[in-house]
Symmetry: C3
Subunit: 160 residues, 3 copies
């Protein structure tokens, strides 16, 4: 009876707007006393990549992919109206005006509130990403079976 | 036992095709006797903006955003094959041919069937949208906590 | 008590990356003993179209649509970094390197594991697709009400 309600998010997208939606929901849920896990896969991994330094990976194709698809919360763009960066810059400004924390701050907040941030083993393998590609707030890698087990026990599961 | 099953949709996208999918599911669920809420956030707010008149907002950036991102159910475009409007026009024609109501009609139908249409407080604040930007079918604004509470009690929750 | 847990996926998108995510989850769930249904709608129908031959449909607009929007698991492209096919080719190569089956193989595997692959009646009607547009692994067409009924009994429902 005293069990906590759970929210599981499968974060597939690496767009700034979808990442914001995901982290707004995650931090709100945590503040409501829910147990929250976010599982990052495909482009979603970009959200939790380190903002600094280079991403190391083996093989020419993976090296290329990790240059084109660099990621890091500060580099994400809007899914529409990016307009060569102008739209993205505007949204960040508007968020500041209403005292909304930045995505970067929300990631740290989420971790502090107990939200688990989990990179997907399979896509990490495919893209040549090891745990040191990700920021400190990130948990150990886990696979699709883990996501499904968490989701099965969740009141709410979202694929974003 | 006599409790109604619930469907909650988080409508993030403002693409015509995704809006159609959302409203087809919402109206079908309502016709099956389910309780339905659609929570509109980010680009999804465009779906329930008034089709007529100008959107008023304060500050030069918000004014610009609400011109570029005008919205209204009759102005939405397909997420792919828009082809400068040709694809969007074709889909609308094809829907008419199979006697499928238009998105605009489905919004009114949904409301008549008891579907709740709720704009997200936070993105409205960010984008400078007040309640009079939205059509008459829309309910009062509500935040992420409200969405999560509804979703927690729902048999089915979809993020579109 | 001995009831099987259920996963229902609403597959709206026809992008290669999202299709891969959907089928990885579906096959993993099936291997965990879950009951899995994937419901294909809009662009998602492209995933299960036959790779060979022409798609037959009536009327000039539907014929055009089915040429532009040809589909078939081998023709899908990434939602980002397609780069005129280079990115898509790279992802396929990287998957092979980590011994991940191709999408085409995963569809067959899924069927063999008991995953139900269901095309949406309404979008098939709109796009002029009949059952012989789809590959052999596909079940009979079904509507939104069927999807919602399945989802209502599912532990996990995802809209991809």
């Amino acid at each position: 009876m005293a069990e906590k309600k759970k929210l599981t998010i499968g974060m597939f997208s690496g767009d700034l707007d979808k990442a914001l939606a995901g982290f707004m929901l995650a931090t709100t849920a945590a503040s409501m006393g829910m147990d929250v896990s976010i599982f990052f896969t495909f482009w979603g991994l970009n959200i939790i990549k380190k903002n600094e330094g280079r991403i190391k990976s083996k093989g020419i194709m993976r090296k290329m992919l990790n240059i084109i698809n660099r990621g890091g919360s500060k580099r994400l763009k809007l899914s529409r109206f990016n307009m060569f960066g102008l739209g993205t810059w505007m949204i960040k400004r508007l968020m500041k005006e209403i005292n909304q924390p930045s995505l970067d701050e929300m990631i740290t907040m989420a971790k502090d509130m107990g939200v688990k941030l989990i990179p997907c083993t399979t896509t990490c393998g495919m893209m040549g990403l090891s745990e040191d590609a990700f920021r400190g707030e990130t948990s150990d890698l886990a696979g699709a079976a883990y996501f499904l087990a968490e989701a099965s026990e969740s009141k709410v599961t979202l694929f974003i």
